[in-house]
Symmetry: C2
Subunit: 128 residues, 2 copies
DNA sequence: GATACCAGTTACAAAAAGGTTACTATGGCA
DNA sequence: TGCCATAGTAACCTTTTTGTAACTGGTATC
């Protein structure tokens, strides 16, 4: 039939759909090219706008857009410091720490995947 | 100075850069709009090409491209079944299970985030 | 006053991603 | 023979994303 259960961890078809919904929710908030990278960078402490562009290698226009979205989602705070040339500091919120498992998992996976790829290239006995 | 340590979990500046590298590696492989969703769907068991387009709501052109990339990265297998109208089954590889922590973490985060958002809307005492 | 740096924004251009439609090719069925 | 379903692919177009360069406005410095 068309409605067979298609998920292992979730057990009903309904749970299956909800699982995908949650996944999509997360992708909506931290998906894309930059947000997780910016969070990863900001885990080292607050940074100013220009510092962030340099650290991430992102253009000011995109950074501005990303930061606004992240602020709206409660992941970072924006603080204006009234110094000589005005300064704006971006800092992670406590709420952003709830993403640490996601980031850690991706970090670990990337590490292992890279080792797997490198291993395939050099240590394989029967290459070529 | 410019090279202060900017990462909490990793402790040296070098580890900090590597951490970001691993994150980017992962994003290269499973980033974008579809790959994690497709994996999530396929966790319920193998599916045919058309079934996948319907389940994910993705066009055939994009699905074809995504599946090729995922096959190249060893996440899925493609099997031709010589039935009446020929059939192609896509199935997760054991290697794709290494992503389960990433997917689970994102699933959990999306679930909690959604509850947080809904909670803000309805149960807040001073709304409006 | 000229220059330079900060934090952005705006306008324009390019590239990436995605969708639609039409098409190939195979084979069962009426 | 014509129609349907399968798995894609190719051409074309739209939308989204990203980048570049120029610019505002403020302050400090030369």
């Amino acid at each position: 039939m068309a409605n067979k259960n298609r998920c292992l961890t979730p057990t009903t078809d309904d749970e299956c759909k909800r699982a995908r919904l949650y996944l999509q929710d997360t992708l909506d908030v931290v998906g894309g090219k930059w947000k997780l990278v910016l969070i990863s960078i900001l885990r080292g402490g607050k940074l100013k706008f220009r510092e962030l562009t340099r650290e991430a290698g992102i253009s000011a226009r995109i950074l501005s857009k990303e930061l606004k979205e992240m602020e709206l989602n409660g992941l970072i705070t924006r603080t204006v410091v009234k110094t000589s040339p005005i300064m704006v500091e971006y800092e992670l919120t406590p709420y952003s720490n709830t993403l640490s498992e996601v980031i850690t998992a991706m970090h670990e996976w990337g590490k292992n995947h890279r080792q797997k790829i490198i291993g395939q290239q050099s240590t394989e006995p029967n290459s070529l």
